[in-house]
Subunit: 279 residues, 2 copies
């Protein structure tokens, strides 16, 4: 099997590495619009060859679209225009806009919408790493819109990456990821902005940052290229969760302002219910 | 040297383990008001003996007060009443209230205010572990109020724990820790409350939680016994930081509501400055 990866960043690059290493792909072709990243990806050995988009699509059996979702919405219909029996997948974090962009495309059945839920706060081919996806969940959306054969190929691909596959329609996907993934990026960005605003002496932040602070602020290092279109495309769901979040924050604020230890304790105990769910 | 640890939870227990293991203490005595925890601490071997408070104070050369800060404020003056040439330290996360509680105590010089900035989201003697403090910062507050000999003993103690010591007055301590530590616990509690409120299906949270979500919500597992008095005692500073945080969150919310990608991107890029500081 020949796999073509369009966009050699953290996700596309890490996929390329493991799909080749674990024998799913005999050859991996890459497409990368940023010349520096393209040269790096070839030099690091993430892909066998960096080629033009058209060559990648015509030579590959499976095409992985791993670009930020704003770009993906524009590219996906164009790529489907070029294929007949190849399998095309995307790996984006929002799904409804993408689904809508190809809903009536004559080759819709060759496309499988996927979201491998793994990553780090780093980006670019330098951030790509083997084993990134192992043990994490991957959502396949609207699988009834894809040909069963295409879905089977994609299930095999994610099984090679050691991912647990979950099925969901793209609208539900966008609701749930707003709760469980998108909001935690926003809280982390806001935390970084707050600390950078209040603590002018950066040395103090560095000196005093404990493991707890580092882990809550980690996602604030995430790429604007990736996160701007996610927050903008998943606007309704993200807004809804942000409003709930601001409410909870204000409840906390008021309990602290009133110096009401019983209310502070009750809020913390309520939050502690997460212990039963996460790890 | 004999060390007495009052409160055998995560911090007190972890200190007891390493101070004994690394030879700073020949014997470690423990005081623990919760009978189950006391029995566990003795059984696990965190301390050599669990004894009554009075015996611990009279037998030990260095006394570590490792109880939640609300309790510490009540106990510290009583403990200082019992000592003449022993060294007493606390390990609490807020410092001004404690400093005030013993400001005019005749034995003030025997007390050294310290805050080892390390921990996990778990609590109790079961959470205690060797190496917890290695490489982290420890703040010593108002050291000019303590006898130089007592400070030297405490510096040696923290050097045994491989901590970098930073000096600060207790008022500055409470300002800086509000920025760098307390606020990140509140953002994490609010995140847990939001997700638990919006996502009624706990299986979805479990299935979809990525590494990013887990790391931002991790601190929401923290103990209410520890965090209620911290947020209440550091009320002014915490409120001030929370208000700034809510402002930043609202700026983000409005940019998303307006679908203004330029503003979303500018906020993310601004938050990305944290990359230069953390790791």
């Amino acid at each position: 099997m020949k796999v073509g990866v369009i966009g050699l960043g953290l996700i596309g690059g890490s996929m390329a590495i493991d799909l080749k290493r674990r024998g799913f792909a005999e050859e991996v072709l890459g497409v990368e619009s940023e010349p520096v990243n393209a040269a790096a990806a070839e030099k690091i050995g993430i892909v066998d060859r960096v080629v033009a988009l058209e060559d990648c699509v015509s030579e590959s059996d499976v095409i992985v679209l791993a670009v930020p979702v704003g770009t993906a919405v524009r590219m996906l219909p164009r790529i489907l225009d070029m294929v007949s029996d190849k399998v095309v997948i995307d790996v984006c974090s929002t799904k409804e806009h993408l689904a809508r962009s190809v809903k009536y495309h004559p080759q819709r059945k060759q496309y499988v919408a996927t979201h491998p839920m793994a990553g780090t706060e780093y980006s670019g081919p330098w951030a790509a790493m083997p084993g990134l996806f192992d043990g994490h969940a991957c959502i396949i959306c609207d699988s009834e819109e894809s040909s069963p054969k295409a879905v089977r190929t994609v299930e095999e691909l994610y099984s090679t990456l050691n991912m647990r596959v979950i099925y969901m329609n793209s609208s539900n996907h966008d609701v749930h990821t707003a709760y469980v993934s998108h909001i935690s990026h926003v809280t982390s960005f806001a935390l970084a902005l707050t600390v950078l605003d209040k603590e002018k002496d950066e040395k103090h932040i560095f000196d005093l940052a404990s493991g707890g602070f580092s882990s809550t602020v980690r996602l604030a290092k995430s790429s604007p290229d990736m996160w701007t279109p996610i927050l903008s495309q998943n606007r309704e769901n993200v807004l809804h969760v942000m409003d709930t979040y601001i409410e909870k924050m204000n409840a906390f604020r008021d309990a602290v302002a009133d110096g009401d230890e019983d209310r502070i304790r009750a809020l913390i105990e309520d939050a502690n219910r997460i212990r039963r769910i996460i790890r």
